[in-house]
Point group: D2
Chain length 147, copies 4
Amino acid sequence: MTIVLPYRHKVQYYETDMMGIVHHSNYIRWFEECRIDYMEQLGYNYQEVEKQGIEFPVLGVSCNYKSSVCFGETVQIQSWFSLLTTTRMSFNYRVTDAVSGKLRATGESRHCYCRITDHKPVQLNKTLPEIYSLFNSWAEEERQKSQ
Amino acid sequence: MTIVLPYRHKVQYYETDMMGIVHHSNYIRWFEECRIDYMEQLGYNYQEVEKQGIEFPVLGVSCNYKSSVCFGETVQIQSWFSLLTTTRMSFNYRVTDAVSGKLRATGESRHCYCRITDHKPVQLNKTLPEIYSLFNSWAEEERQKSQ
Amino acid sequence: MTIVLPYRHKVQYYETDMMGIVHHSNYIRWFEECRIDYMEQLGYNYQEVEKQGIEFPVLGVSCNYKSSVCFGETVQIQSWFSLLTTTRMSFNYRVTDAVSGKLRATGESRHCYCRITDHKPVQLNKTLPEIYSLFNSWAEEERQKSQ
Amino acid sequence: MTIVLPYRHKVQYYETDMMGIVHHSNYIRWFEECRIDYMEQLGYNYQEVEKQGIEFPVLGVSCNYKSSVCFGETVQIQSWFSLLTTTRMSFNYRVTDAVSGKLRATGESRHCYCRITDHKPVQLNKTLPEIYSLFNSWAEEERQKSQ
């Protein structure tokens, strides 16, 4: 069975703002880093899928900030499918400090599946059946864990 | 009576990504631009308030993407208080195309009030009574408009 | 005769870093904002040129920081052709405070002309003769002014 | 003897632009990532030095782009002292593809040493003698290697 490792991001100086902490917009970028890493660990290759002409635009995103993150710290981010259907998928995120484990933030992103050429929505089970099957078995596992 | 003008942002090349559209994380930054502009139009001066040692950390943020924004376009962003209490405030955002008026995104941000020195929460009506009164009269007006 | 207005950029909160000033990488982005604005003022349309399949990749960039820029300030940026040939162009930049006129930074960027489809270099006078003629007359004027 | 490992950066989706490649401003941020990593490997702790009230503002930066970098690639960045005096230091950078070794960019950054409280320049050998000695022995080694 595949074991997904949490994603790690070392906080960069340019990610801080004059409040002395990481600017809140960067968490949205970290979610993207984490999501791509997560899907790659499941066996998905972003560039290959783009070559096949499918993209996963972001329909919505949210982040709840729990405690601030400072330069020099490393965050650990876990992500998992909170929803997977033939037309939509959503991810949940949980950001913690890599050393202390203290909760930094939680968040979510929602996506659809589109053809790159005309940005029209597609059904993932029809256009990328293998990827869909891969994601679905994983989402199923997470549904069971969360019960 | 003060009339608040919607904020305008011209989309920059560096805000695009390889999907050919604005990267979704930038909307969170536009919300900040718009929020500061909005408060300034109400008579608030961000730097002055920071000198008085008060900051408005972001507790949460969300964005729902309705249609994509491209390089060369200008977006118009409206923001307004969706909540204002002595310990919290929230803003709603509405992003439209400046020319066609087409809806691009909606969003929200939630904030508390903190002392800069120790990041401890404060009550805005006690620490910045004039600002609180200013914001409150405006929030009240918006509550009435929305009914 | 066309008069080119200097470009203005209001400094955003998210552009600052924990040193309390604008992060140095943002000046490179401001140069891009300014360069596009400058070319647009000369009568050039970026999107139109991209539709014609020509792009202006950056070959090199440099910035010399003279004094720091803070949140809330507005900078004024002037740019002009420092070189224009059939295969290359370079711009110089001068960043000053919009109020005090104090020098903030100077810089340069160097570009070539490429076909978008295969990223192969092209000669601007052959692929976009009108744009080349437009730029050239302007570059000539600046050569004369600088003597 | 300390062996400094080259810095590695995995290219993120949000670092690309509509040209389909990494936006050129990000290289300046990578230089910062690399420079901090390099100094940390030499035994320097950025946050500790900041606590002692010393900062290393950027006086100038330059980058020469040799070939484009795409999403999904990993770059390897080497940095070394190109200059070290009691009042100034400079770094050179060399960005290559981590797999093919192909040259992506070269660059430089120039820095002075300042007190954080009043941003006044200081002499590194007087304010941080141990750090200066550490950097100097390393800069010396690199001077010898390059001969």
